[in-house]
């Protein structure tokens, strides 16, 4: 009999569109059964109770190996709206019980699952199993990504104006705090004006010049860097500077499909990391739903649990909203690099992308 490996970490996730649900389900269907259409899958998918659908193994640079389990919530991609909050919270709760049954020591709440919980862990018993939103390492990769991009453009962060779309959110506020002493100007955007203003007021004493506006189009023309960490499909980026660096880290990551590239504009999918020493799945459905241009790429939120497991640092590392400290961002990134888990190469929906110097500044 196969020896069952103990589980170090669990990842709770969901799909955000039907085509990816379809690829996974059809990937599970054996050759003799016809692939299903989205309409056929829609009828049953969200009835399935949360369950483990594959196991994972990650290898550290230090030689340590950790085992994980991916728990799918089976949340209906069309129901990722506040209207279905109760139902989705129930699914996340059930997924957490599945993780506890697996005796996983740390649980990462991927994508929207942390949002439905508003990071509020008080309703869970985290004495034997810790829970993290993974937003600290996600923030770290976003920040590392824009810093690397700017360096490659021979620019300095302290000369840049950074626009943060979704500034009042958990990741957005972490990035704002982090950058407040490192950039020339901060341009903050979110829809709720009162919250935005109250948030922005905290930064009036910092070295960065601070502007905020609920009207995105007022801020875009000033931005050298745009970090998008809002959950919205309808963000429009217009009248941007020619050489703007755009880090698309929210869901869905669709900004590159709306922007003309090639004029020096650089758009990449941010918040992503890669496990350099190996990241394997069993059963391996990756050929059916893995959409990244290189192997071993994953979201920062998932990798935070992997890194904490490598370290044996089982704690509710990222929890609540607006609690992410600059020191924690630096700390988790340092641990991540120690274990060979690093920023993913730059890519967007067209594949890997290179940042190139504009002609005028070359030589």
């Amino acid at each position: 009999m196969e020896n069952e490996a103990h589980i170090d970490f669990a990842v709770i996730g969901h799909q955000d569109n039907w085509p990816s649900v379809q690829s996974i389900i059809n990937g599970m269907r054996s050759g003799e059964n016809e692939p299903l259409t989205v309409a056929q899958i829609k009828g049953t998918f969200s009835y399935i109770p949360p369950r483990s659908i594959f196991k994972m193994t990650a290898k550290s640079k230090t030689g340590k190996t950790v085992n994980g389990v991916y728990i799918e919530t089976f949340i209906d991609p069309d129901e990722l709206t506040p209207h279905f909050l109760r139902k989705n919270i129930n699914k996340v709760n059930e997924a957490i019980s599945v993780a506890l049954k697996h005796k996983s020591k740390i649980i990462a709440l991927g994508g929207f699952t942390s949002i439905v919980l508003e990071g509020n862990l008080s309703q869970f018993d985290t004495s034997s199993s810790k829970i993290t939103t993974g937003n600290t390492l996600t923030s770290a990769y976003i920040l590392k990504g824009v810093t690397d991009a700017i360096l490659k453009l021979n620019k300095r962060l302290q000369d840049c104006n950074v626009l943060i779309i979704g500034a009042t959110g958990d990741i957005g506020s972490a990035c704002t705090h982090y950058l407040s002493s490192k950039v020339k100007g901060l341009l903050l955007n979110a829809r709720n004006g009162r919250k935005l203003e109250a948030f922005a007021q905290q930064f009036t004493d910092t070295s960065a010049e601070i502007k905020w506006n609920t009207r995105l189009e007022e801020l875009i023309p000033m931005a050298d860097i745009i970090i998008c960490v809002a959950s919205s499909a309808s963000i429009e980026i217009k009248d941007y500077k020619k050489q703007v660096v755009i880090c698309d880290a929210g869901y869905p990551k669709n900004l590159d499909t709306k922007i003309e590239e090639g004029n020096g504009t650089f758009v990449f999918h941010g918040g992503m990391g890669t496990v350099n020493y190996g990241y394997d799945f069993k059963p391996d459905y990756r050929e059916h739903f893995y959409n990244y241009p290189r192997p071993h790429i994953a979201h920062g939120c998932i990798l935070e649990a992997v890194v904490l497991a490598f370290e044996g640092k089982y704690e509710n590392f990222s929890s609540g909203k607006g609690n992410i400290k600059t020191e924690s961002i630096d700390k988790i990134h340092e641990l991540s690099v120690k274990h060979g888990v690093e920023l993913a190469p730059f890519y967007n929906s067209k594949g890997l992308c290179e940042i190139s110097l504009p002609k005028s500044s070359k030589g």
Partner: protein, 247 residues
């Protein structure tokens, strides 16, 4: 909730016609269960298990009688047919394992697969019908739940004895039996008659009594998935089995 229910006139001719088929399916299902336990009683050697099977058969008989009496009270002309397209196939699969004295297989088919569908569908019917008939469906669903729980413990022990062997076997049973139940519960109307409904397939008429076949099927598969979880079958196994069912 109450508001919603008022809009269904359960005494209309169309509603009674749908209810006739709902009762016919339930009674047929109970009689299949009764016959299955009776066959098991014959096949098993262990005297305690033999007696338990007879007791189970009797409990399914009582369910069938309860449904029959209630249908009669409502003046419904129910149809019982153990040899119809789907019920007949399920029965034959069951008999093939009973003939081999395969107690585990019999339990898995009757008390996990058939019972998951029964509990879930009775619960849906019970919640939709805000009347005496509804109450009856709900109380029988409760009793069927106990049957499921009883078998779960037994099957969990079996799984622990030899996991790989158990999973292989369960997969075969799933393919044999759940495929039929999944076809039976397809959301499209049956093309050939199931042999139990009295006129055309009742599926598309279920909304007349506040039910719909899509959510009934979904809830049944959900309960089946949970039953597999309780037995200790890994999620990555059960999801693969379910993903391969006919749609």
């Amino acid at each position: 909730m109450g508001m919603e229910k008022l809009s269904y006139d359960l005494k209309s001719e169309e509603a009674l016609s749908v209810l006739t088929d709902v009762f016919s399916q339930a009674i047929t299902g109970e009689l299949i269960g009764m016959s299955n336990f009776a066959s098991m009683a014959g096949a098993i050697d262990d005297p305690h298990e033999k007696m338990e099977a007879v007791e189970h058969a009797d409990s399914e008989r009582q369910h069938a009688e309860g449904f029959m009496a209630h249908a009669e009270k409502l003046g419904l002309k129910v149809k019982v047919n153990l040899e119809g397209e789907y019920w007949g196939r399920v029965r034959n699969i069951f008999l093939s394992y009973a003939a081999k004295k395969d107690f585990i297989a019999c339990l898995a088919i009757q008390e996990v697969m058939l019972e998951a569908f029964a509990v879930s569908m009775y619960t849906d019917v019970g919640k939709a019908l805000d009347n005496e008939a509804g109450k009856m469906f709900l109380s029988i669903a409760e009793e069927e739940k106990e049957h499921m729980e009883h078998s779960t413990e037994f099957l969990r022990d079996e799984l622990h004895k030899d996991k790989d062997k158990f999973l292989k076997k369960f997969e075969q049973l799933h393919n044999d039996c759940m495929t039929i139940l999944a076809e039976f519960s397809l959301t499209s109307d049956c093309t050939d008659s199931c042999g139990v409904c009295h006129g055309n397939c009742m599926k598309s008429s279920l909304p007349i009594v506040g039910l719909d076949v899509g959510s009934m099927r979904g809830n049944a598969l959900s309960l089946y998935a949970r039953a597999l979880d309780h037995i200790g079958i890994p999620g990555e196994q059960s999801i693969k089995w379910i993903a391969n069912l006919p749609v």
